[in-house]
């Protein structure tokens, strides 16, 4: 009964939330959990097939949603926290929304993305059958602390999970260590050929997580992802069970997984990892993968994942939350050889991380290439990002407190494309401005 009240209360809050136009997808769940703390603990019983969870610093939402799309295309009913509310409260909201009026939830699969820091708490109630870990990068230090802390949290979570099949990124030395946990049974996906230019960015996991010696790298993909081995203890990149080769980054992206050709219309090298993780997880779940290309036709990226808005020229909105994400976004901008304007918006609210020193760990200076036309900065920390450019010797053409002004200025230049790179809380306002200027839906501030 308690549970039913919690679900009703949550449903009511969701309706009220919609009426007042709130975007938060965590609060109905948070409220319902207060009434019934064990609300989601029967997910394992409800789900007829598997519970698949996705963690990792970058690519969680995309990987999880791709997974859900693929399973739905196969005709399954999937419980999925699609909007990326990834703490227990977000999962509770998802649960409430899929419950019927009698509080019953039906699902074949659960696809849940989970914030690394919350995995031990979530796994106390929900035992994953399959756990995907995409990568580990330095993230908002004021919230998560050092990366070693995150590693320990995930290890605790795995111990809590019971017997679990792990799908891990072979190219990330920080990720691979989880495959050694006692109750884990791991498969690995990885990219085996050199694709990107070798750059000297800030690399976190260059040291062996087992013995601490500096790892030898044959080459890097980006950050600490690459082909590595430890001269000290022999820890090394495992041979991928899902081996990616023959990559072409020109749109549409083409590559092969275990020799099977894939073609997808996404931007960004990192999306190959996201797709490979989904492919591997489906296979581990016992699903067929020979129709993989077709399964993903219905996939709609969440907002801000290289999302294109068409004006007199395309405006592409890209969300990044940490140095590794921004470096990848910048590499994607660099790979576009049209004449371009770039707008960068940096906020420092709680969800962004209040500490903006990470701006200096991003290779922002690389944004300046032969095709850069106008560079504009905005956001709450507009001065910080502008200073970052000043000390890199790069001229900022427009510094403004208004995203709208920045976009209007860019639409007015003779560039062929505009990129808008934002961090978390700058995303929704940027999207609202772009929709407003298009005269479309969702206008507002």
């Amino acid at each position: 009964m308690r549970k039913l009240i919690a679900i009703w209360a949550g449903k009511l809050l969701t309706v009220v939330g919609k009426l007042v136009g709130k975007k938060s997808s965590a609060s109905p769940g948070a409220f319902a959990l207060k009434i019934c703390p064990a609300l989601v603990s029967d997910i394992n019983k409800i789900v007829t097939k598997k519970v698949i969870v996705t963690c990792g610093t970058n690519g969680k939402t995309t990987t999880n949603n791709l997974m859900c799309t693929a399973l739905e295309a196969k005709g399954y009913k999937v419980l999925c926290n699609r909007l990326g509310a990834n703490m227990l409260s977000g999962i509770a909201t998802t649960y409430i929304q899929s419950a019927d009026i009698f509080g019953r939830v039906k699902a074949d699969y659960a696809c849940l993305e989970i914030d690394e820091a919350y995995t031990p708490i979530v796994f106390r109630q929900i035992k994953p059958d399959i756990m995907v870990i995409t990568n580990l990068f330095r993230d908002q230090l004021d919230r998560y602390g050092e990366i070693d802390i995150t590693v320990n949290i995930i290890k605790r979570a795995i111990a809590e999970a019971g017997k679990v099949k792990m799908v891990l990124n072979a190219d990330d030395p920080l990720c691979v260590q989880f495959g050694r946990e006692a109750n884990a049974e791991a498969v690995y996906y990885g990219i085996s050929e050199k694709v990107l230019p070798q750059v000297d960015d800030t690399k976190e996991g260059r040291f062996c997580p087992i013995c601490g010696a500096e790892l030898d790298f044959e080459f890097y993909h980006y950050s600490q992802l690459g082909i590595y081995s430890c001269p000290g203890c022999g820890y090394k990149r495992p041979e991928p069970d899902y081996n990616i080769t023959d990559i072409s980054l020109k749109a549409p992206i083409r590559f092969k997984i275990n020799g099977k050709a894939m073609e997808v219309n996404y931007k960004g090298f990192y999306n190959i990892y996201n797709l490979a993780a989904v492919y591997a997880a489906l296979d581990v779940a016992g699903e067929r993968t020979d129709d993989f290309n077709k399964l993903l036709e219905g996939y709609k990226p969440q907002i801000g994942r290289m999302q294109e808005f068409m004006f007199n020229k395309p405006v592409i909105l890209s969300l990044s939350k940490n140095p590794a994400g921004f470096n990848q976004a910048i590499a994607t901008v660099n790979s576009d050889d049209r004449k371009k304007d770039v707008i960068i918006a940096i906020n420092d609210l709680a969800n962004d991380g209040r500490d903006v020193s990470w701006l200096w760990d991003v290779d922002f200076h690389k944004i300046k290439d032969d095709n850069l036309n106008m560079l504009a900065t905005t956001g709450i920390r507009v001065y910080d990002i502008s200073l970052r450019f000043k000390y890199a010797g790069i001229n900022v053409d427009l510094m403004t407190d208004s995203m709208k002004k920045a976009v209007l200025a860019a639409l007015d230049t003779d560039s062929e494309v505009v990129y808008v790179l934002v961090n978390y809380t700058a995303l929704y306002p940027a999207e609202a401005v772009l929709n407003e200027l298009k005269g479309g839906k969702g206008s507002g501030r």
């Binding site: 260059r206 903006v356 020193s357 701006l359 200096w360 910080d384």
Partner: protein, 235 residues
């Protein structure tokens, strides 16, 4: 010389190096950064004018510490003879006698008569100081578990907003001869151009007896970034 940038690189420290270098170059003064990394041997300070020591994770800091202890005397002499050192966060803690953690004590370089003990919770905040060294307020971000006790040493500044060396003293950082050590990152120098120039002036005076001061630069952007933080948190 940037000490162990491969290990101590947690909070955008390369911004401090860029800032020191650019502000010299913009004035027509040659500047070169030498990185001393894990792979290097033959540690030598005789040609070094500014030594920078940043912050790292606990694990990386321990590695650095064990390596630097071999050069303890050299670093100590360098500081005593007026060499310039900038130490941030973990680097600040390393300059003291020790850093006492829950289950172990890490021996420091003993350059300064200060020590650090692990506190119960991390002190994480934007932070603003008033300092006798410069007119403008010093702004930055702090994120540290250690509480540093500087004894009779002079602090870098008095805390106007944020925590500082510990919860109660309202003091932040330490200044000794030409050593400036602090918990402030952000990074420290780009938003505090006056502090950067203060440090550069000391280093240049130490190097050239006839040095007659730095030319002013256009710091309007730096000052806006600095004042934005001050106005947001103090007024």
């Amino acid at each position: 010389m940037h000490l162990y940038p491969d290990l101590l690189n947690l909070y955008g420290d390369r911004g401090n190096i860029e800032c020191l270098k650019r502000r010299l170059q913009w004035r027509g003064i040659d500047a070169e950064t030498v990185a001393y990394t894990c792979d290097d041997t033959g540690f030598e300070l005789s040609d070094v004018d500014i030594l920078f020591l940043g912050g790292g994770s606990d694990r990386e800091q321990k590695i650095v510490c064990s390596r630097l202890l071999e050069h303890k005397e050299m670093i100590k002499d360098y500081a005593e003879n007026g060499g310039t050192i900038i130490a941030v966060c973990g680097g600040y803690q390393l300059l003291g006698k020790y850093y006492k953690l829950e289950d172990e004590t890490i021996e420091g370089l003993d350059v300064l008569d200060i020590y650090t003990e692990q506190g119960s919770k991390r002190l994480i905040s934007n932070i603003i100081l008033e300092s006798d060294l410069i007119k403008a307020k010093i702004v930055g971000f702090e994120n540290h578990g250690g509480r540093t006790f500087i004894g009779s040493h002079k602090p870098l500044g008095r805390v106007v907003y944020g925590h500082g060396n510990d919860e109660s003293s309202r003091a932040e950082g330490v200044v000794y001869k030409n050593v400036v050590a602090t918990y402030l990152h952000g990074p420290l120098l780009p938003k505090n151009p006056q502090l950067c120039d203060y440090i550069l002036t000391n280093a240049l005076r130490h190097k050239y007896a006839d040095f007659d001061g730095l030319e002013p630069l256009d710091d309007s952007l730096e000052n806006m970034a600095n004042e934005y933080i001050v106005n947001r948190f103090v007024k």
